[in-house]
Symmetry: C2
Amino acid sequence: MQWLTASELESWLSLVRLLMWLPWSIDQQLRRDSKLRIVEYQVLAKLSESPGRTMRMSALAEVTNASLSRLSHVVERLERRGFVRRAADRTDGRYTKATLTDEGFETLAAAAPGHVRHIRSLVIDVLSPEQLRRLGRDAARITARIDTSGAG
Amino acid sequence: MQWLTASELESWLSLVRLLMWLPWSIDQQLRRDSKLRIVEYQVLAKLSESPGRTMRMSALAEVTNASLSRLSHVVERLERRGFVRRAADRTDGRYTKATLTDEGFETLAAAAPGHVRHIRSLVIDVLSPEQLRRLGRDAARITARIDTSGAG
DNA sequence: CATTCAAGCTTGAAATGTCAAGTGAACGGT
DNA sequence: ACCGTTCACTTGACATTTCAAGCTTGAATG
């Protein structure tokens, strides 16, 4: 087997630290300022961008990288908080459509600026436009190699 | 407030996908092939690199990005599996020292090659040495901005 | 039609993570 | 020596996630 060189190892460990701490930091900020966890924010955000502020559960699960089961629990909690409503699809009863309520939208709207400010100060403003573009490209290159078929 | 430009947003979303899927993929591989979760692997790995295969709980918590409480639970489970032993420090009874057992070391040794192969195929071999170095530098730049004082 | 079958989601229990409070050991002042 | 504090964990309660069924709806087959 081929081990890692010193340089590879160093870069990899830097990346690991990023993978560990950046989501943690984002989560802290959202919870502190908006009583939302990352998944919840993502659910609200993705719904808000969709036509009719509505999405099928399975589609929502995919874009938020949550298993259907996990999403089901998350949405149930968001529903109890009044941020989301669920209803069976008229045309195909197997589908469940989740809709963002006005209250959910307001919560998202209140949370977004602080969230954006936070990622701007941690990521966007720390790198040059060129560096950021490259980072995005490299990230995309890696995720393209990941087999996500077993998710859900 | 300052929103994100289209280009910034695109790069950011790429990074978000990386933050979501890469840890997920690593976790899958470790669980499937070695019955270990990421945290557990990290604990075993860090212990194995330490003199006497021993570390204080707080030091271990820091390098694994786990709260002391979480680490305490994790190590308890590893202890039940026979991979780790705990003992109070002789010189200062407040410290708890965790030690990797032979069985724990063997488990780690069995898990490491597959893990390294996996990250090599997903990350290391996908980027040129130069790209990897830059990725590591950018990651370090970002983590340097994160205030980790509230962790633990 | 009735009968499987799969898809899309939900559910409940077990595993895991987080939070707040508790424990005991060392330290610093008196 | 005594008192209060801080440090390093641990613990138990609670929240969340995962895992393994289970349910309901529509499609496919006979």
